[in-house]
Amino acid sequence: MKFQEELKESIRKALPELDVVIGWCGSFDPLHATPHFIYGEEDIEKLEISPLNVHNLATYLPGMRGKKVGVVVKGCDSRSVVELLQEKLISRDDITIFGFPCTGVIDQSKVKKAIGYVGNVQSCDMSDESLVVVVDDKPHSLKLSEVLAEKCKSCRYPDAIISDYFVGDRIAKKDPAEPNYKELEKFEKLAVSERFGYWLKELDRCIRCYACRSACPLCVCRDHCIAESRDPHWLSQENNVRDKLMFQVIHAYHMAGRCTECGECQRACPVDIPILMLKQKMNKEVLDIFNYEAGVNLKDTPPLLSFKMEEENITEKDW
């Protein structure tokens, strides 16, 4: 990326005042990146900005309260930062934000689907339009647009909303003005029994690792999540699909009006359960009822933590 060096320079400038800067670097194969914690000069060089940087690094911030932390954010990640600031879960004074224009990240499961087997990736060359992945000596050429994460296709916030350092040229806010819920709307048209069956079938393979929760930048209960507590005792430890689904509803509801749809819950899921749709549904209704979108304005209050005496968009049942 053109501005990678510029970013390194900014980090170099800011680092002396900071305990750590979180960015990304290469991982176990050329198709993967990993969060990268920069403590000193020797770590700066490893920083890489690429479409493989899927991780939302805002996830680390609430757990680092009290430390001076720099964080590199994509546009979508910056919304998580805004939401965390809004809810006073992190302090603005402690956070230094590095922004850059993001052109989208790659959805690994799409790559896997396109190529079939990606166990041994030897190289991955990326250009603006395409990428060539060599697996077991065989090159596979893919269009970037085919393997771009869904959220990136209808991204409306490619540039960080909030930043202390911004490198590269800003990409103007893209259309459409409203989030894209086409897939969700298609699903909503299914018969109720199909919807019901769908979730049971999908959740069945859940291993209750709670990566969805741990990867979520706004799941701040962390060690005290009600999924595992006995008081309150919301869920049993039985291996049943009811409790697995119930947890997803808990997560979605606790995210209502707070979720920025970064998609980390679904990306983190080791068994690829399409749980983002539940959050999208919640967000769609939040937008409908409260005309509200999380993580775009520092001064907002999440809608479920406030109220109006007269709710314009709530029509109660007439008995």
């Binding site: 991982s27 991780h55 291993i207 990867a215 430890q237 039985e238 068994v271």
Partner: protein, 353 residues
């Protein structure tokens, strides 16, 4: 003389269907974008190319299992008197697991050293272990996260398996590696395997070649103890860990559990479910004190346990067979190999006298 048979890929389902007549058969298949072990269903495709997303651990050590069902019986004459009647829920029947990988299946040998010792036998574990046979597929391809050869195993390691299946052109060469394995290879669908033995050896040689050279991990137990108190080291290597349970739940050698009672009305069950040392609750004490308060403490435990404490107790055997799932599926890209190597290479800044 070992029994070798050749199975045509096209006969795989028929063979499993035969096995399913007397056993419950598990085989890997796609569910969504993941490969998991599910009860054999002739209508679904079986995935055999590479290791499944989730290992077949649950076939012997379920994610959650009932240990005891109990009922409170009230004395009709005196409701104050209650009799508790509890029954162990022992698993019944035999199971055949097709399609695990050597690293998956060998993992149970780690369990055996804990659940089947001279002093104690875990009856639930034993019942499943004794009644489960494994038809393991040797790996034809290696993945960038594979490191079985670092930890004393190999893509064709037969330990723990009953039959080893080596992919050859058009099918598998099946080798019985246990007496129980031989009984599995009696089907008329299976052809004589000897003509394929050479081809199978070539496949395995090629895989080993691809794996490359393994680093020497023999120092890891001692080295990890050396850095035990170096929290700065552990904080740095655990910085990106998000404390979920993916690594432990996908690990074929992680055997920790939690026990809870779930009661409704007069009936209840005592349940054993997977537990996860990455979670703060794992070591949370009733007082509220937590001896492993941070993720650094917890990741230290996980790495330490596998590469130091377990080997110390069990003849130097590392409690990891290098399947690499903890690396591949980690949402944050934590790489256990990297941590072990860092510990081995770690040079204290203060030189001893």
């Amino acid at each position: 003389m070992t029994l070798v048979k050749y199975l045509k890929s096209t006969d795989l389902k028929s063979w499993l269907a035969e096995l399913a007549e007397k056993n419950s058969v598990f085989a890997p298949r796609y569910e969504g974008d993941s490969v998991i072990f599910a009860p054999f269903d002739p209508e679904q495709e079986i995935y055999t190319k590479s290791a499944a997303t989730v290992p077949p651990k649950k076939t012997v050590f379920p994610q959650s299992e009932k240990l005891v069902d109990f009922t409170y019986h009230k004395d009709p004459e005196n409701p104050g008197k209650t009799l508790i009647d509890g029954k162990e829920v022992l698993p019944q029947g035999t199971t055949v697991v097709f399609g695990g990988r050597p690293c998956d299946v060998r993992g149970f040998s780690m369990f055996d050293r804990v659940y089947l010792t001279k002093e104690t036998t875990d009856i639930y574990y034993k019942a499943r272990r004794d009644n489960t046979s494994f038809i393991t597929i040797a790996c034809e391809f290696t993945e960038s996260t594979c490191f079985c050869h670092w930890v004393g195993s190999s893509p064709s390691d037969p330990i723990g398996s009953d039959v080893l299946a080596v992919p050859v052109k058009g099918g598998f060469l099946l080798t019985a590696v246990s007496a129980r394995g031989e009984t599995l290879l009696t089907s008329k669908l299976l052809l004589e395997g000897k003509p394929k033995v050479e081809e199978a050896e070539e496949v395995l040689d090629k895989v080993m070649e691809n794996l490359g050279k393994a680093p020497d991990l023999s120092k890891s137990p001692g080295k990890l103890l050396e850095v035990f108190d170096n929290m700065e080291f552990w904080e740095k290597v655990s910085a990106k860990c998000i404390s979920c349970g993916t690594c432990t739940y996908l690990c074929p050698t992680c055997y920790c559990f939690n026990i809870t009672d779930e009661i409704q009305g007069l009936k209840g069950s005592r349940i054993r479910s997977w537990d996860n040392c990455m979670s703060a609750l794992f070591t949370m004490e009733a007082s509220g004190h937590n001896p492993r308060p941070t993720k650094a403490h917890r990741l230290k435990n996980r790495v330490g346990h596998k590469f130091s404490y377990y080997p110390d107790l069990h003849d130097g055997i590392i409690s990891c067979y290098g399947c690499g799932r903890c690396i591949k599926s980690c949402p944050a890209g934590v790489d256990i190999r990297e941590i072990v190597l860092k510990a081995i290479e770690f040079m204290p800044t203060v030189v001893e006298e």
